[in-house]
């Protein structure tokens, strides 16, 4: 069966979004394009499983995201088998391919756990609903919200954003240490 034109168009329209998501998630341009390519091929092969009337983009996001995690797990296992567990933690991502160099925001994103990163990207950048993000990530809305909150807090910390407004525990500890030291001297 040939791919029907509207579905094909929906897939085509989803490509820039799949690509932006894959790049932001993996931080690797070459690998991101591989991910998008595989997701599109799997989507085409399994088009009969797509529910008409639902979001083609969300469906392809789910495929791409699952593909990403499957490959991460496999890669981690392979490296652990070969070099032991420590190397496995270091070499999760493919080595080849162009790395992203967009500046501090991308660098900060790359330091978030994948689960927080994908939740923040889907809702905060891509603009899908909490409900849709939960479906894509195979979890519930509460978990998505929690991951996003923690992602934002960590990003703010990494980007040094909350210094003026936030008197968190760290600042209080520093402030009291400062006073203590001065009292001694």
């Amino acid at each position: 069966m040939a791919v029907e034109l509207p579905l094909r168009q929906e897939m085509l329209d989803a490509i820039p979004h799949l690509r932006a998501f894959a790049i932001s998630l993996s931080g690797n341009l070459t690998y991101a394009d591989d991910l998008v390519q595989t997701a599109l091929m799997r989507g085409l092969q399994n088009l009969d499983q797509f529910q008409p009337g639902t979001s083609m983009q969300a469906w392809l996001f789910t495929i791409l995201r699952n593909q990403f995690y499957t490959e991460m797990r496999r890669r981690r296992r392979e490296v652990e088998d070969a070099d032991g567990a420590i190397a496995g933690r270091l070499a999760v991502m493919p080595e080849q391919g162009a790395r992203l160099d967009f500046g501090d925001m991308q660098a900060a994103l790359a330091r978030l756990p994948f689960e927080q990163r994908e939740a923040l990207l889907l809702v905060g950048a891509e603009g899908v609903s909490y409900e849709e993000a939960a479906r894509i990530c195979g979890t519930n809305i509460g978990t998505i919200k929690s991951r996003i909150n923690r992602a934002r807090a960590r990003l703010a910390e990494l980007l040094d954003l909350s210094l003026e407004e936030d008197l968190g525990p760290d600042r209080l500890v520093k402030a009291s240490l400062f006073m203590h030291v001065h009292a001694i001297v």
């Binding site: 069966m1 040939a2 791919v3 094909r8 897939m11 085509l12 490509i15 820039p16 979004h17 690509r19 932006a20 790049i23 932001s24 394009d33 998008v36 390519q37 599109l40 091929m41 799997r42 085409l44 092969q45 399994n46 499983q49 797509f50 529910q51 639902t54 979001s55 469906w59 789910t62 495929i63 699952n66 967009f102 925001m105 991308q106 923040l120 990207l121 905060g124 950048a125 891509e126 849709e132 479906r135 195979g138 519930n140 809305i141 509460g142 978990t143 919200k145 929690s146 991951r147 909150n149 923690r150 934002r152 807090a153 990003l155 703010a156 980007l159 954003l161 407004e165 936030d166 968190g168």
Partner: protein, 78 residues
Amino acid sequence: MLTIVPTASSRKPTEPERLQVVQPEAVVREPALPPQVTAYLGERLRADYSHLVNDPIPDELIQILEALDQKRGLGHGR
């Protein structure tokens, strides 16, 4: 071989059950960011992301759809 392709619809029936399940990650105390920090982060994120969305798409990715169209079309014709 493809083993995991959950569709949006295949997840739907379990969703109401799932929502009532205790959410351990959500129970943890959430740090509250000042609203202006959250807003700033959102703007930066969306700006970076839309930059990526507007990037030209590599031809290989578009060709996948065309190549498979042709293959499926031929198969169907026989």
